[in-house]
């Protein structure tokens, strides 16, 4: 009987320790936006407009514009044409625009790309894990990555159709280009 009592106490202690462990793990693994100046978190995601995957690391050597968007997001609709226009202009300088479709239905996202004539590569982040790693608070949001894979400029927290965000966007592009 004494053994049973000891066993019960050990199980209870283990359960409490497990709960504490979970709490500590949760607190230490909360999503924080990556630091500007630090390395851009790498990812490999399924391509939306075609087969296969695309890894951010494979774009090393190019300045990259990471634009988080979704087809259900109203400001993203307004921003799409502007982004496509910027991409057409900056691709000549080696800049790669990469759309990251966040928490979205794939078929609706493809319709969105086709409707807005988006031609730069886009990947699908359906679960939102990559968006969470980048500390996304909503869409659209944009990051800039320089040729060495570091985040530069500012984290643009809105559509680049608004003048404040447009200024941040162009400053970010210049920082990514290293000029």
């Amino acid at each position: 009987m004494r053994l049973l009592k000891l066993g019960g106490q050990a199980v209870a202690l283990a359960a409490v320790a497990g709960m504490l462990g979970l709490l500590v793990w949760r607190l230490t693994h909360q999503a924080h936006p990556p630091k500007i100046g630090g390395p851009a978190p790498n990812f490999t995601l399924r391509r939306l407009e075609g087969p296969g995957t695309l890894a951010l690391a494979s774009l090393r050597g190019h300045p990259v514009v990471l634009n988080f968007w979704a087809s259900w997001c109203v400001p993203c609709k307004g921003e799409a044409a502007k982004l496509q226009q910027e991409w057409t202009q900056y691709r000549k300088q080696g800049v790669v625009f990469l759309g990251i479709d966040y928490h979205d239905v794939g078929s609706d996202a493809r319709t969105f790309l086709s409707h807005h004539g988006i031609t730069y590569p886009t990947v699908q982040d359906g679960s939102g894990k990559i968006g969470d790693r980048y500390g996304i608070t909503g869409v659209p949001e944009t990051y800039f990555v320089d040729r060495r894979g570091r985040l530069v400029g500012v984290h643009v927290l809105g559509p680049i159709t608004e003048s404040k965000f447009a200024q941040q966007f162009h400053a970010g592009l210049r920082a990514a280009l290293g000029s």
Partner: protein, 147 residues
């Protein structure tokens, strides 16, 4: 005659898709409580966000195309990951989420029963208090008076 043809065409247009399903059609109301809105972390029936409305529209489209509830859920999991389901699936590691709480409740009830059983056995019978002859005699007299 023209009116009859029009009615026939309308019946075909509206009743056609419903009749085409080989199985009972699932409903948006049934699925809404089982699917999460990925941006607001509540079930679809409790959310009015753009993302929730988009998923509802997708579900309705698939229901109209005769997809079963299971098919729709699988498609959503493939698109959004397992986190889109309000409850974990009944297989693999996820089974733990179903059985662990049940095991905890049964184990707790067992421990409680064991504790109660041990407590009830440990109690000793209450000693019988013997009356002193004086008191006993007095009670007998009182009872005799009552008769």
């Amino acid at each position: 005659m023209l009116r009859l043809v029009a009615v026939g065409v309308a019946a075909l247009v509206f009743a056609g898709p419903a009749a085409a399903c080989a199985h009972p059609r699932t409903s948006l109301t049934y699925l809404e409580g089982q699917i999460m809105c990925p941006t607001c972390h509540t079930t679809l029936d409790q959310s009015d966000s753009d993302a929730a409305r988009q998923i509802e529209a997708y579900i309705q489209k698939r229901i109209d195309a005769c997809a079963t509830a299971g098919q729709i859920k699988s498609e959503l999991v493939a698109n959004f990951g397992a986190g889109i389901l309000a409850a974990p699936p009944h297989k693999g590691f996820d089974l733990l989420a179903w059985w662990l709480p049940l095991g905890g409740v049964i184990g707790g009830a067992g421990l409680l029963a064991l504790g109660v059983w041990r407590w009830s056995r440990r109690r000793e019978p209450e000693p019988v208090v013997a009356l002193d002859p004086e008191t006993e005699k007095r009670i007998d007299e009182l009872l005799a008076d009552l008769d």
